[in-house]
């Protein structure tokens, strides 16, 4: 079915065109910019564009190949994000068992639940069962030091990196009348809007940014960048209404919500990085930092988008 979906191919053609234009601009910048500081920024921008080619390619293959490959991709992203997150969060010896449980049981199970489309357990496993399970296992390990803090860190890591992120592939399990078999576009719509919003916030911030939204958290996130980025990403999202089950006005609202949630995700994860005294979560993607630096916005946007769409459109 997916292979006959011309709208899906249309979206990917658009992304391809965008990447080509970005690469040409990057090439021109490299040619024009002469100052050492400017060159540094341009080198970073070009590394980012190169990484975008790779990331878009991987996502496209998984998304076009169907539900299983999409779930596997997001499970892998969860794993890498969780690994980066827990590495930065101080844990103690007594947390070892809980960590094993998260990595090797909870995380695969959450994605398995998406695969078998068991919505009920999918939506409560982490917030109910894992929530109660972590403190119990930690208490049994017999280390009372910073008990609440450590338990909270584990729960937070699992909520953000596993639970929240798993809502992105979960979009594929929604049943929307008149939109059957087309959910791959819903996922692509969300990822596209949230990532474009990130990029456009960066572009607007670099060119016009003056006042920082939260200077102690992230000096790079500016009011001008936020407004410009969210506004332009929202316009693009609205123009993509034809690929979604939404009326153009609803597409506008959805894109606005996704962009704002994405901003909240980036800001929150920056606060954690700031507290731990690092700039990036990892070094996996050149120019971007770690996986978590790239998907923090998806982690916040996915559950919101999922539940709004589910409430207003889905029959399950």
């Amino acid at each position: 079915m997916i292979f006959r979906d011309h709208e899906l191919y249309g979206l990917y053609m658009g992304i391809l065109a965008l990447l080509v234009v970005a690469s040409i601009i990057g090439f021109l910048l490299e040619w024009r910019v002469k100052t050492p500081r400017g060159r540094e920024t341009v080198a970073n921008i070009n590394a980012r564009i190169k990484a975008w080619w790779v990331m878009s390619g991987i996502f496209a293959v998984a998304n076009l190949a169907g539900m299983t490959s999409t779930i596997v991709l997001f499970a892998l992203l969860s794993f890498l994000a969780l690994r980066e997150f827990v590495t930065l969060t101080p844990t103690r010896r007594g947390d070892h068992r809980s960590l094993l449980f998260t990595f090797f049981f909870l995380m695969p199970l959450q994605y398995l639940l998406v695969g078998i489309q068991w919505y009920g357990l999918f939506s409560v496993m982490v917030p109910v069962y894992a929530f109660l399970f972590f403190p119990t296992v930690n208490a049994l390990q017999g280390d009372p030091k910073q008990f609440l803090e450590r338990t909270a860190k584990l729960q937070w890591a699992t909520m953000v990196c596993v639970y929240c992120l798993s809502h992105a592939p979960a979009l594929l399990m929604l049943q929307i009348p008149g939109y059957e078999g087309e959910n791959a576009k819903l996922l692509l719509f969300m990822v596209l809007v949230v990532q474009l919003s990130d990029v456009l916030q960066y572009v607007w911030g670099k060119t016009t940014g003056r006042r920082a939204v939260a200077p102690n958290i992230s000096p790079n996130k500016t009011v001008e960048g936020l407004i410009g980025g969210v506004a332009s990403a929202t316009i693009i999202g609205t123009l993509l209404w034809w690929a979604t089950p939404f009326h153009p006005f609803v597409a506008w609202l959805m894109a606005l919500g996704i962009s704002l949630a994405g901003f909240a995700g980036g800001l929150t994860m920056s606060a954690i990085k700031r507290d731990r005294g690092v700039k990036d979560y990892g070094t996996l993607i050149e120019g971007h930092g770690g996986i978590l630096d790239r998907i923090d916005s998806i982690c916040f946007a996915a559950p919101l988008f999922f539940h709004v769409v589910r409430f207003f459109y889905s029959t399950v």
């Binding site: 827990v86 590495t87 844990t91 070892h96 960590l99 094993l100 990595f103 070094t283």
Partner: protein
């Protein structure tokens, strides 16, 4: 066969430990060296060994405990063929036994082989680096031209703490510091403490 297993094990160790090598004022070259690292986990020497570039790993031999690596055929094969480990008896108490231990290490180095050792003797608890045993000093004295490279393994005690069997796949880092040598007339205690400080000083470098 052995080299294939070695390549696979190195890949697996890097995957599990997410190890990232940082060479600080030290080039990853296949020179004759003694890499001395902090001991916090079962995985230490495998991870240190796995992050070395192939051509460096090919001339680097870990020093390992004889009593552990000779108990089965598989372990013997892995120790001898895959890691090309220099096996020593760790429970060397008498002067005679210690001399024998040193001889085996020097023999294992030959003219061009590097060693990986953990001079704390035993795995430390948590992050504190324990005082060094004197083996490093005797090696430095016997091989004055060999570069001694301090190595700090970060986070491995979280990946696989003492007494646990399953590793949590977090990200770890391996810091290689500037090579050092025994100074003329330097006492054993002063040298071992200097070496220990060089290792501790690597922790948390950018």
């Amino acid at each position: 066969m052995a080299s294939l297993v070695a390549a696979f094990l190195a890949w697996l160790a890097r995957l599990i430990s997410g190890a990232n090598a940082l060479w600080l004022d030290c080039q990853p070259l296949p020179r004759q060296r003694v890499y001395f690292g902090n001991h916090t986990s079962h995985m230490d020497f495998v991870v240190l060994w796995s992050v070395l570039p192939d051509e460096v790993r090919a001339v680097t031999r870990p020093v390992a405990a004889e009593e552990y690596w000779t108990t089965s055929k598989l372990r013997k094969f892995i120790a001898a063929e895959v890691f090309r480990a220099v096996l020593v008896d760790r429970n060397s108490n008498t002067v005679e036994e210690r001399r024998n231990q040193m001889e085996r290490m020097l023999e294992g180095m030959g003219n061009d082989q590097s060693l990986i050792i953990f001079p704390e003797g035993t795995r430390g608890e948590g992050d504190a680096v324990q005082p060094f045993k004197s083996g490093l000093y005797h090696l430095a004295k016997a091989k004055p031209n060999v570069e001694l490279v301090p190595v700090y393994l970060e986070n491995l005690n979280r990946v696989l703490p003492k007494g646990e069997y399953l590793p949590v796949p977090l990200l770890s880092r391996v810091y290689f510091g500037p090579p050092m040598q025994l100074k003329e007339g330097e006492s054993k205690e002063a040298f071992l403490e200097r070496a220990r400080q060089a290792m501790v000083g690597l922790a948390g470098q950018p």
